[in-house]
């Protein structure tokens, strides 16, 4: 028995070292993110909107948004997309066999007519039943059989005729200047092939007429935890990874791509649960294989507001799906891992994502279980338990608070001091309970992949303020 205990203690020590290494890595990325954001802050407000908004040289953009049963928010979010400040853009909504009134609402609200518009590309997709267009030709709605998110995005790419394509979620809200900001890396450097904007949590903020009018911290602690997570992921991780041109994820909620590169890559992968991650990895792969000079960039100023789950049930569904998608994408592109042919992406970006993000729930959960059970039955030393606690929880708390401070030192979207204080408190508490539960869900996501379980999972949304308004007006 003592041999077994000895092995358990060694396992815990290894996990402790992993926790330290992982958090040290976050610390470095977060610090790099801070310095990069500080350097960028001096230039971010440097361009007035007017000359960009008026210019004939701006590349046109197609905003593509798949919608499946989005009756709560579709009208407002479509209107907000149409009203974005940009010289030339069109909106393509793909109704992916909604069973609610999504299509009818769009037809009625925007006076759409059945159009003869033809696809300009031929990605294979589920059958397109009809295409509807608005009188000003700025809104196109594709009504098709059910094929999933990637299938809908590919259908929209087929109809897009602009050099740039922005993939967004139909239930998200883009800030009015977000297109002008997200397009900037394409204007600054012609080798840019994809750009991601920041996704922020809308829960707690005031939404009027499809726009966020007052930014505020949410009330529910579960949502605050997610705010901290988003800040850590976007302002820390993605800024730093983008700076090293090894950004592997442009969120499906808001990303801008060169249409030619999307077509060359074969569009979004059908059936993928993390089509955004998979596509970006593929874009890296193709560009590296063809030895092109290219950039995939994250910019922290163009904001896309999204509603995050405010119940444990919905959050669990979302996290398990993300985890399954992440594992699948990694498995598909495993050939890039530690492969010097793929440069920093193969040698740092992919291993970082796999070892410190995707597989992290396994050692984390194992560590928590061993520590709790070991302390209860007295087969691990208190020193080992304390070390694990320091490496995992305390170090993690430091990273979480740093993420909130990073927001405060750079973008400063939360105006009220109480918002900052409440987010710092959330960053403190996040590591006690929430992270452990999250690790459990993500671990189950890995098990789902092993068991070949592949469902998108159903999530109910409130449709933030705008959805609630719509509900009242239509019923």
């Amino acid at each position: 028995m003592s041999g077994f205990y000895h092995v358990i203690n060694i396992v815990l020590d290894v996990i402790t070292v992993y926790a330290f290494v992982s958090n040290f890595n976050y610390f470095v990325l977060m610090s790099l993110g801070f310095f990069v954001l500080r350097a960028q802050r001096t230039t971010e407000g440097s361009v007035e909107r007017d000359p960009l908004f008026k210019s004939r040289l701006m590349p046109a953009i197609s905003i593509i948004a798949p919608a499946h049963n989005e009756e709560l928010s579709i009208v407002q979010s479509t209107r907000s997309m149409l009203q974005l400040e940009y010289p030339e853009h069109e909106v393509i909504i793909v109704n992916d066999a909604s069973t609610d009134r999504t299509l009818q609402l769009l037809i009625e609200e925007f006076h759409l007519y059945k159009s003869a518009r033809q696809p300009l590309h031929d990605f294979a997709t589920a059958r397109v039943k009809a295409v509807y267009e608005s009188q000003d030709l700025k809104l196109l709605v594709i009504d098709k059989d059910n094929g999933g998110k990637s299938d809908s995005l590919n259908a929209a790419i087929n109809y897009a005729c602009t050099p740039l394509v922005a993939a967004v979620d139909a239930d998200s809200l883009l800030e009015s200047n977000s297109l002008l900001l997200v397009v900037r890396p394409f204007l600054e450097d012609e080798s840019t092939i994809a750009v991601g904007g920041i996704i922020r949590v809308v829960n707690g903020s005031k939404v009027e007429q499809g726009a966020v009018t007052k930014v505020g911290a949410p009330r529910k602690m579960l949502v605050k935890f997610q705010v901290v997570e988003y800040l850590r992921a976007f302002l820390g991780g993605r800024v730093a990874l983008s700076y090293m041109n090894s950004l592997l994820l442009i969120s499906g909620a808001f990303g801008l791509f060169r249409r030619d590169n999307l077509i060359e890559a074969g569009g979004f992968e059908l059936g993928s649960l993390a089509e955004d991650l998979e596509l970006v990895i593929r874009l890296h792969r193709i560009s590296r294989e063809k030895k092109r000079d290219y950039k995939i960039v994250f910019v922290p100023t163009p904001v896309c507001w999204t509603e995050v789950p405010d119940s444990l049930k919905n959050l669990r569904v979302q996290r398990r799906r993300w985890q399954r998608g992440g594992v699948e994408s990694m498995w598909k592109h495993r050939g890039m891992l530690f492969n010097p042919k793929f440069g920093i992406v193969g040698c740092f970006g992919m291993p970082y994502l796999l070892l410190l993000e995707i597989l992290a729930p396994i050692p984390n959960l194992t560590g928590y279980v061993i520590t709790v059970v070991g302390l209860l039955f007295g087969f691990i030393s208190s020193t080992s338990a304390m070390l694990f606690f320091i490496g995992s929880v305390l170090f993690g708390t430091m990273i979480s608070i740093s993420a909130v401070l990073l927001e405060e030192f750079t973008t400063r979207r939360y105006a009220h001091p109480m918002d900052l204080a409440s987010l710092i408190l959330a960053a403190f508490l996040e590591n006690i309970g929430y992270r452990q539960v999250n690790a459990l869900w993500r671990f189950r996501g890995i098990l789902d992949v092993v068991r070949k379980k592949k469902v998108w999972g159903k999530m109910t949304r409130r449709g933030f303020v705008l959805g609630a308004n719509l509900q009242q007006s239509t019923r």
Binding site: F20, F27, V28, S31, L32, F35, V36, A39, Q40, T42, T43, E44, G45, S46, V47, D50, P51, L52, K54, S55, R56, L57, M58, A116, R117, Q118, P119, L120, H121, E133, Q135, L137, C161, P185, F186, L187, E188, D189, E190, V299, T301, T383, M386, L387, I390, G391, L394, F395, T397, M398, I401, V404, L405, E408, F409, A415, P417, L420, A421, I424
Partner: protein
């Protein structure tokens, strides 16, 4: 957002220093506890220095940040309350009725909101009022401050200083056009153009090819008031030059302005260049070409070009200029080409008035590939209401 090379180096130096400091501190703790015999006595301080000490530091920083945010919040509320008075006093001083002593007091005690409002006034007005504002800026010491701020490392401060000095005609240093940071170059160029220096448009035109598309786009807007002068003196030379980037920048200017300013021999100049430039010049042929015949030949040449990607914009240009001689070529293109080019040809035909639409109708009825004609005709009818 792109950052300058010097900022890039600063970022790497900062991160290296920070990480080295962190590792150094942790190693020092480890060494300091190395006298202990028990491994626990060595590892616990190590772990503490790795995580607990930084945590304490971050918590202190968080407390300071919250206090600082509260102070800023109060300052912002105060600034919001004083702003109407600043605006009112400034406006009345400009028209010669205000209390200058009060204005001086406001400029001294609320310098930040005062400067912001002053800049707003400068960007809103022009002519005589800006002259008055310039005198006032001098009197209040703002000119001196802005001259210093031109060399600030904070771009936003630098930009505001350059813009304000430009608006009161006090920027005349062309060396800033060669600043390492593109944003500064552009801001300096705009300020220089505002200053009224006679050679400014020529100098700014010369710097165009070295800027990014964003820079060229912004400068095109600043150069708009000098379009006639540039079209006469600089753009023909720009296109003629062997430098591809200069030729491209010249054509882009014309595209950005979309003004009817004929450039002597424009079509001939363009047709002598490589295919990329010829395609880029297609949208401006109707504005820049001296005569329709001159433009027609160039468009016909490009409609017969083997690459489909060239024929699509050529079809659009044919419709823009209304070259009816291209109709047979467009019909052929609509029937034979791939989707993008075929649709462009159909859309071009739809713009040739009733004749073009009749052709599309007969295409819909008789062709085995009526889709693009149908789409173009439908769009044309919708556009016409």
């Amino acid at each position: 957002m792109k950052i300058s090379e010097s900022s890039r180096i600063r970022v790497w130096i900062s991160i290296t220093l920070l990480v080295s400091l962190y590792i150094g501190a942790v190693y020092w703790v480890y060494r300091a506890s190395s006298g202990s015999f028990y491994s626990t006595a060595r590892i616990v301080p190590l772990a503490t220095s790795l995580a607990v000490v930084p945590l304490v530091l971050v918590v202190i920083l968080a407390i300071i940040s919250t206090i600082a945010k509260s102070i800023r919040y109060v300052a912002r509320v105060r600034a919001a309350s004083i702003s109407p008075e600043i605006r009112e006093t400034l406006a009345s001083v400009i028209v010669g009725e205000g209390d200058r002593t009060r204005l001086r007091w406001l400029a001294h005690h609320h310098s930040r909101p005062f400067e912001i409002i002053f800049s707003e006034f400068l960007s809103t007005f022009g002519g005589k009022i800006n002259f008055e504002l310039g005198m006032l800026a001098s009197e209040l010491g703002l000119v001196k401050k802005w001259r210093r701020a031109i060399h600030s490392r904070n771009f936003l401060t630098q930009k505001m200083a350059l813009a304000n000095l430009g608006r009161i005609g006090l920027v005349s240093d062309p060396s800033l056009l060669h600043h390492p940071l593109e944003q500064t170059r552009i801001e300096a160029a705009s300020a220089l153009l505002n200053s009224g220096l006679p050679e400014a448009p020529g100098l700014v035109f010369k710097m165009l090819p070295d800027q990014s598309l964003l820079g060229r786009l912004l400068l095109a807007d600043s150069l708009r008031p000098f379009a006639t002068e540039l079209c006469e003196r600089h753009i023909p030379n720009g296109i003629r030059l062997n430098d591809k980037r200069a030729a491209k920048a010249s054509v882009e200017l014309l595209r950005a302005w979309e003004r009817w300013i004929p450039i002597p021999d424009f079509s001939r100049l363009v047709s002598e260049r490589d295919i990329d430039l010829r395609v880029a010049a297609l949208p401006v042929l109707r504005f820049a070409a001296g005569t329709e015949q001159e433009a027609a030949q160039e468009v016909i040449d490009l409609l017969e070009f083997p690459d489909e990607r060239v024929r699509a914009p050529a079809a659009k240009a044919a419709a823009d200029i209304g070259i009816s001689a291209t109709i047979p070529l467009l019909i052929k293109q609509m029937r034979k080409d791939g989707p993008v080019s075929a649709l462009a040809a159909a859309q071009a035909l739809a713009r040739f008035g009733p004749n073009g639409r009749d052709l599309l109708e007969s295409e819909i009825l008789s062709s085995s590939r009526p889709n693009y004609a149908l789409q173009a005709l439908e769009q044309s009818l919708v556009e016409r209401g």
